[in-house]
């Protein structure tokens, strides 16, 4: 968590147009700061107090520069001071870029007592996060058990209830080149008052909504991730979850073969020769082999079918590589 937060905030530190920043609590107390002028804190605090829970992204035109405030979540507010000559739109865009990075980080609430802008505050936050993570699984373990047994009306026979198989996120295959389509539950997920939206908001905050807005059946995962300055993996993870809820439609992962003894494989990768040249110009002794080069047989299979040794087939393939013969790789 601390590493990710540090990485997100480093975007601001390395930006020449940023004079300083401060990650503040919801009441305006600076927790982690970098070159943020102390005399601006009261003004920022007043603005936060003014809007309270209605605070959205706002800007303050100060003598020192342009201040952009944005709530990260219910506990944190990011405040950035930009150079005075920076255009407002650009300042907001830069802040939103950092906000997107922060959205992916589970920030714990601030400790009860801390020293304003102290260097070790980040470590304190990290230890709070670790402690929270070590408690969380035991809390989650309890609810599922009462729901564990599905209530079948009669007998233990599974074929009595032909329900459609519920697919989990891991049952889908999402590649950078996959173009997700909108699913049946797409509109429902975007309705602010729906349960599905609430579930998505809890798990992914605004990131889920932002990604879904970009799903149109044409944009690939890579394009969506790029436009949001996010890694492909993060978008893929969300889309797999969304697919499991019927919000989007993506290809299912191929069934894995039983892996007790066999190591998992996507199918045998083979190379099959395909002759596309002019058979009329080929030597008569090579015709039998060339006619079998249809892109569906391996060189070993051709040798067996033609009744010739395998090296002979390789000789012919090598000879005709310059005359219309190519090797096609595929999995079978």
């Amino acid at each position: 968590m601390a590493g990710d937060l540090e990485r997100a905030l480093s975007k601001l530190r390395t930006d020449d147009q940023v004079l300083g920043y401060s990650l503040m609590t919801k009441i305006g107390r600076p927790f982690v700061s970098f070159s943020f002028p102390g005399d601006l804190f009261p003004r920022v605090k007043d603005s936060i107090k003014l809007y309270k829970s209605d605070l959205r992204l706002m800007t303050i035109d100060a003598d020192r520069g342009l201040v952009v405030l944005s709530p990260v979540d219910d506990n944190w507010i990011l405040t950035v001071l930009y150079v005075p000559e920076l255009q407002l739109g650009l300042a907001i865009a830069k802040t939103k870029n950092v906000m997107r990075l922060l959205e992916g980080i589970e920030l714990p609430p601030p400790p009860e007592e801390f020293e304003d802008s102290a260097e070790r505050n980040l470590e304190v936050l990290q230890s709070i996060a670790i402690k929270a993570a070590s408690i969380a699984p035991t809390a989650e373990a309890q609810p599922p058990t009462p729901e564990a047994k599905p209530a079948y009306p009669a007998g233990p026979s599974p074929k009595a209830v032909p329900e459609s198989k519920l697919l989990g996120p891991d049952d889908f295959q999402v590649l950078p080149t996959t173009a997700p389509k909108r699913g049946d539950m797409y509109s429902n997920a975007l309705s602010l008052d729906s349960e599905l939206y609430s579930e998505m908001k809890r798990a992914y905050r605004n990131f889920g909504f932002d990604v879904l807005m970009l799903v149109d059946g044409n944009r690939t995962v890579s394009q969506i991730a790029e436009s949001m300055f996010q890694p492909n993996e993060r978008v893929s993870t969300l889309l797999k979850w969304a697919a499991s809820k019927g919000i989007v439609s993506v290809p299912e992962a191929k069934e894995k073969v039983s892996q007790e003894k066999m190591s998992p494989s996507m199918g045998r990768f083979v190379k099959c020769p395909l002759f596309e040249g002019d058979l009329g110009k080929a030597k008569s002794e090579d015709l039998r082999i060339l006619k079998l080069c249809d892109g569906s047989k391996t060189s070993e299979e051709i040798a067996e079918a033609a009744g010739v040794p395998h090296p002979r087939v390789i000789q012919v393939l090598a000879q005709y590589r310059r005359f219309g013969l190519k090797m096609i790789g595929k999995t079978v």
Binding site: Q173, T177, E226, P264, G329, K330, T331
Partner: protein, 157 residues
């Protein structure tokens, strides 16, 4: 059929790809494995070539990254990349090679999404890491699967 460049490299790499495909469960995993192999090779390349002398110790801008890519191409392949695109996406640098050495005369069917040349993604990621640049590199397009050129996306983190 055009003259094959570096047939020994092609043959060895073809063997590597065959092995990876026989040991992995899906295309994503195969891509990842090839990138890992590229990481290992990247260390060797950095130690044995003069990339370190020709480039700055630390890279700060996307222009620096583009320059590094050009140098890597020159050192490894004695040529320039077909293009380096920094305009399309602000957080990325896209590298294109219309005469990619890794997938010469390779034709794949039904393997959409497979990056035959992902090993080069791993090499770039590794070399960038030595220059203190955090990035994810992956192959977006490959001639082996029908594209006009091989294209890698260097996504800066």
């Amino acid at each position: 059929m055009p003259k094959i460049e570096n047939p020994l490299l092609l043959s060895l790499y073809s063997k590597v790809v065959d092995q990876v495909l026989s040991q992995t469960a899906n295309i994503e995993e195969a891509n990842r494995r090839l990138r890992e192999i590229g990481h290992d090779i990247g260390s060797q390349i950095y130690l044995t070539t003069d990339i370190v002398e020709k480039t700055k110790d630390t890279l700060m801008t996307r222009e620096d990254v583009a320059k590094l890519v050009e140098i890597v191409f020159r050192v490894l392949y004695d040529k320039r990349p077909t293009s380096i695109d920094m305009e399309t996406a602000r957080g990325s640098v896209r590298v294109t090679d219309a005469s990619c050495i890794w997938c010469q005369e390779v034709h794949l069917e039904g393997m959409h999404g497979f990056g035959y040349c992902e090993v080069f993604s791993g090499i770039l990621e590794s070399v960038l890491a030595f220059k203190s640049v955090e990035a994810r590199v992956f192959q977006e397009m490959c001639r082996a699967t029908g594209a006009d050129a091989c294209e890698w996306n260097i996504r800066l983190l």
